[in-house]
């Protein structure tokens, strides 16, 4: 049973936030509401009439529409064509449809251009197209699944303005999110789900992020411990003038003149809107793509030409951004996934040169990881696909940390992970850092970046365009550099010009820690 005793009522004309740990049953609930899955018990009522959905089409007919986390748009088609696709009967495909789209776009302030090609649109614009698509089909209740995961702060604000517009026109919005700060700022009502059941409701004006987080996890949160900086002056990873060209004739530079150094015990945070070269940088560091020019050194040794396997054996840990594509064998049991990436290392192999697999050893160690990292699973023989995203991530983190990496590439280490596991993963990274681990942290969660990093860099169109001190930077300022609006060394402009910036920032940071301890990995009293 994934869900039981769920009670949720959404008032007309409100934004209702649904929060809960990953695997708590939010997605299942949404699938039921959207007709993708049938409930075994219980009822759904829309406008007071009891309904039963057997497909998304039924749900749409009742005015319930869903905006998925991963956009479902055809790049080669225009916005108009994308919106009309599949609903040609509603307003035709010509002038009628265009009129309707213009009307909806105006009424809700979406600013959608019907003739633009989707491939030319940014992420935020695509999201608005998705929303319009749902409205076009006559939805009066919108379900938004983690809509802010892919947006920068400025875009999030714009989205929230749109949501308020929708609300004022009498539409209802169900908003699913992990980011409690956002939930508190936009929602009218909040429902918390834990272990498949609704455990509480809250009113944003009378709740703090911390209280919400505790309700989600079901226990008190560990307070982020304060620790002094562990940054040393021994460089672990040095990248100099790294350049990577696109395949084919275009020869466009995907990475251009990337240089940075990460010392032992240092976390370097890399901020950037997705698709600005982060993936390519990871590939170059792990050895999946070989640089066209430039040098990568690890602990003083030139590893530019080393294979992925030799780099990993040499102590490069990797928490991939797309765990399904790069971190797991979904249809293989957990213990085989524990071997993945470390097949040449103890405890996975034995014999001379590690020729034979040590299956018993790998299984025993998988049990240890499941235990120590709190991977919720009935056993180690189930396939990785049957675990929830957060538990898959815990398994990956456990696996990578078990090999005592010297350099960890952590791409979105807590994406899709619940609050409790998030704190745990941060703790593990911090602990390893204390022992001299160098970390490259790439994350779309700016609070995480700022809270966990010792140094911040911003990547924009394949170049490192800005750097910042995490002690004094705000998400907004970072966000503007991410969109290319600012570059160089980012400094927070203080009203109190006389006071030393660092001191003011420390105070600010301390206050933020108190406010948003539950969601931000603030760990250092700077």
């Amino acid at each position: 049973m994934a869900n039981h005793d769920i009670h949720l009522s959404v008032r007309k004309g409100t934004v209702h936030a649904l929060v809960g740990e990953n695997g708590a049953g939010k997605s299942t609930l949404m699938k039921i509401l959207y007709g993708m899955q049938k409930p075994d018990e219980g009822t759904i009522a829309v406008d007071g009439t009891q309904v039963s959905f057997s497909s998304p089409a039924d749900a749409i007919a009742r005015g319930i529409g869903m905006v998925h986390q991963h956009f479902m748009l055809a790049d080669q088609l225009t916005v108009l064509e994308n919106i009309v696709l599949g609903s040609e009967k509603l307003y035709g495909i010509g002038a009628g449809a265009r009129r309707k789209i213009a009307e909806l776009s105006d009424r809700y302030g979406l600013g959608v251009r019907p003739d633009a090609y989707v491939e030319d649109l940014g992420v935020a614009d695509r999201q608005r197209v998705e929303i319009l698509k749902v409205l076009y089909r006559g939805a009066t209740t919108l379900i938004l699944d983690e809509p802010t995961a892919v947006l920068v702060p400025q875009e999030v604000d714009a989205l929230f303005d749109n949501l308020r517009e929708l609300k004022s026109e009498g539409l209802s919005v169900i908003f699913i999110s992990h980011k409690l700060g956002e939930v508190l700022s936009v929602a009218d009502d909040i429902t918390v789900i834990r272990r498949g059941t609704t455990v509480g409701t809250a009113v944003p004006s009378q709740t703090t992020a911390r209280q919400l987080a505790e309700l989600m996890v079901g226990s008190e949160l560990p307070t982020p411990e304060t620790a002094e900086s562990t940054v040393t002056d021994r460089p672990m990873i040095e990248v100099e003038g790294l350049k990577l060209l696109a395949d084919g004739d275009s020869g466009r530079a995907l990475l251009d003149d990337i240089s940075f150094t990460i010392h032992e015990g240092e976390v370097l945070g890399l901020a950037g809107v997705e698709g600005n070269g982060q993936t390519e940088l990871i590939d170059a560091l792990i050895g999946l793509k070989h640089a066209d020019s430039g040098v990568i050194r690890m602990a003083g040794e030139d590893i530019t030409d080393r294979s992925t396997r030799r780099r990993r054996e040499g102590g490069v840990g990797y928490i991939p951004e797309d765990r399904h594509r790069h971190g797991l064998l979904l249809e293989s049991p957990l213990w085989e996934n524990r071997i993945l990436g470390h097949v040449t290392e103890h405890p996975n192999t034995r014999g001379k040169g590690g020729f034979w697999l040590d299956i018993k050893g790998a299984q025993a160690d998988t049990r240890r990881i499941v235990e120590e990292y709190d991977v919720r699973t009935p056993g180690i023989d189930v396939t990785a696909a049957s675990l929830s995203g957060g538990n898959q991530q815990k398994l990956i983190v456990g696996r990578e940390m078990s090999h005592k990496p010297r350099f960890l590439i952590a791409a979105h280490p807590t994406r899709g992970v619940d609050v409790g596991a998030q704190a745990q993963i941060w703790d593990q990274i911090r602990e390893a850092r204390r022992e001299g681990l160098a970390v490259l942290l790439i994350s779309a969660d700016l609070d995480e970046l700022i809270g966990l990093s010792d140094t911040l860099r911003v990547i924009y169109r394949g170049r490192l365009v800005a750097d910042a001190d995490p002690g004094s930077i705000t998400p907004e300022k970072l966000g503007s550099a991410m969109t290319g609006a600012a570059s160089g060394h980012l400094e927070q402009t203080q009203e109190s010009a006389g006071a030393p910036a660092a001191k003011a920032a420390a105070q600010q940071a301390a206050q933020e820690t108190a406010d948003a301890a539950a969601e931000a990995p603030e760990d250092e009293a700077r």
Partner: protein
């Protein structure tokens, strides 16, 4: 955990069983449509299988199928489609026959030499496709199909009189091999002789299992098949893996013709069995690339091929068996995919259920932890 194991076994069996039942039903429909009894051919074939000489034929045939299917399965395990097993084994058998006819060593050396020649020839032929794929990105499917056709021409050329050919009547042969290269068989009296090479085939199956499931190399190979991107990130050199898998697949394919060559005919001629490679594809599919599954599938295929011979004498067409084999392959692909999807979904559900149950149990023992509490007075 036991529950999952039992269920996994059930799922593993469900796929082929559904496919076989579907195939029998469809074949019966064909029989009824052509105005014949839909039952009798089956009973005739089962009766055939009770004769010991037919059993020997089935085992011998299955040995060759097994090797061919193993070769295909090695490719399948990493998503490589080696359609070229057919060309590889024929070319290998011919080369082996030529070497066996021209080199004469003591049996203890001659047989290993012949096996080596067969494996190297097969690996050479599949290696061409492997190199084309890794260096030029040519699909191995296209390359191996082409190489099959080329192999046919190469064999025709090499067996010409002016090359290695020795004409015997209307037949082009490569001459009789030296006796030291004949592989001793297992005498079954009146029923005939089981090829000794069948035991080699069985050993190959054990080795296949051992390498794939118990070695680092096997893990890398399976990981590549399961997810190329994850394997690459884990440090597998994808290109080298493609080439290695192609070479091994070809080497095993090279063995497929040896049971009959070393155990019975001792020469490569126009009447040498053809099409083993394609049969192997169907068998590898049916056997789900598992050594035991492939063994059972080989036996089934050999049964259909050999027991159907007698149908002609009873007024039925022996092609019924061919229809059945074809339908099995199609049914297998469909039913495996369906069963696989169902199994994955089901396991996901079960894991969710177990965790929820465990969580509830924990919640109850903790007292009122489960009760709904309100944050902030409303």
């Amino acid at each position: 955990m036991k529950k999952f194991d039992k269920e996994r076994l059930l799922l593993a069996v469900a796929g082929p069983v559904i496919a076989l039942v579907a195939a029998m039903v469809l074949t019966s429909v064909v029989l009824v449509a052509s105005g014949k009894s839909p039952i009798e051919p089956y009973s005739l074939m089962f009766e055939q299988a009770t004769f010991s000489d037919v059993q020997v034929l089935i085992i011998n045939e299955a040995g060759m199928y097994y090797l061919a299917a193993l070769a295909v399965a090695i490719g399948f395990r990493m998503n490589l489609f080696n359609i070229g097993v057919d060309g590889q084994y024929r070319l290998a058998a011919m080369m082996t026959a030529v070497v066996g006819a021209h080199v004469s060593l003591p049996a203890g050396l001659q047989i290993p030499l012949l096996i080596l020649v067969a494996m190297l020839t097969g690996a050479f032929w599949s290696g061409i496709a492997g190199i084309l794929k890794t260096t030029r990105g040519v699909s191995e499917v296209v390359a191996t199909i082409m190489l099959n056709a080329i192999a046919t021409s190469v064999i025709a050329y090499l067996t010409l009189d002016e090359n290695f050919g020795v004409p015997v009547g209307n037949n082009n042969t490569t001459g009789v091999m030296h006796k030291s290269g004949w592989f001793p068989g297992i005498d079954m009296g009146d029923s005939g002789e089981i090829y000794g090479f069948v035991i080699v085939a069985a050993l190959a199956g054990v080795l296949y299992w051992l390498i794939l499931n118990r070695t680092r190399f096997g893990f890398d190979l399976r990981a590549t098949g399961a997810s190329q991107s994850a394997a690459a990130a884990s440090g597998v050199n994808a290109k080298r893996m493609v080439l290695t898998a192609m070479l091994i697949s070809g080497a095993v394919a090279g063995l497929a013709g040896l049971p009959i060559l070393l155990g019975d005919v001792h020469t490569y001629s126009l009447s040498f069995p053809t099409g083993l490679g394609f049969t192997g594809i169907g068998i590898a599919l049916l056997g789900r690339n598992s050594p035991v599954g492939i063994a059972l599938a080989s036996l089934l295929w050999a049964f259909l091929a050999k027991a159907s011979q007698a149908l002609d004498y009873e007024g039925y067409d022996k092609e019924i068996a061919v229809i059945m084999q074809g339908v099995i392959v199609i049914a297998v692909v469909v039913s495996y995919e369906a069963v696989r999807n169902w199994g994955l979904r089901r396991q996901q559900q079960r894991v969710g259920e177990e965790l929820a149950a465990a969580a509830r149990a924990a919640g109850e023992s903790n007292g009122n932890n489960d009760t709904v509490k309100e944050v902030a007075a409303r």
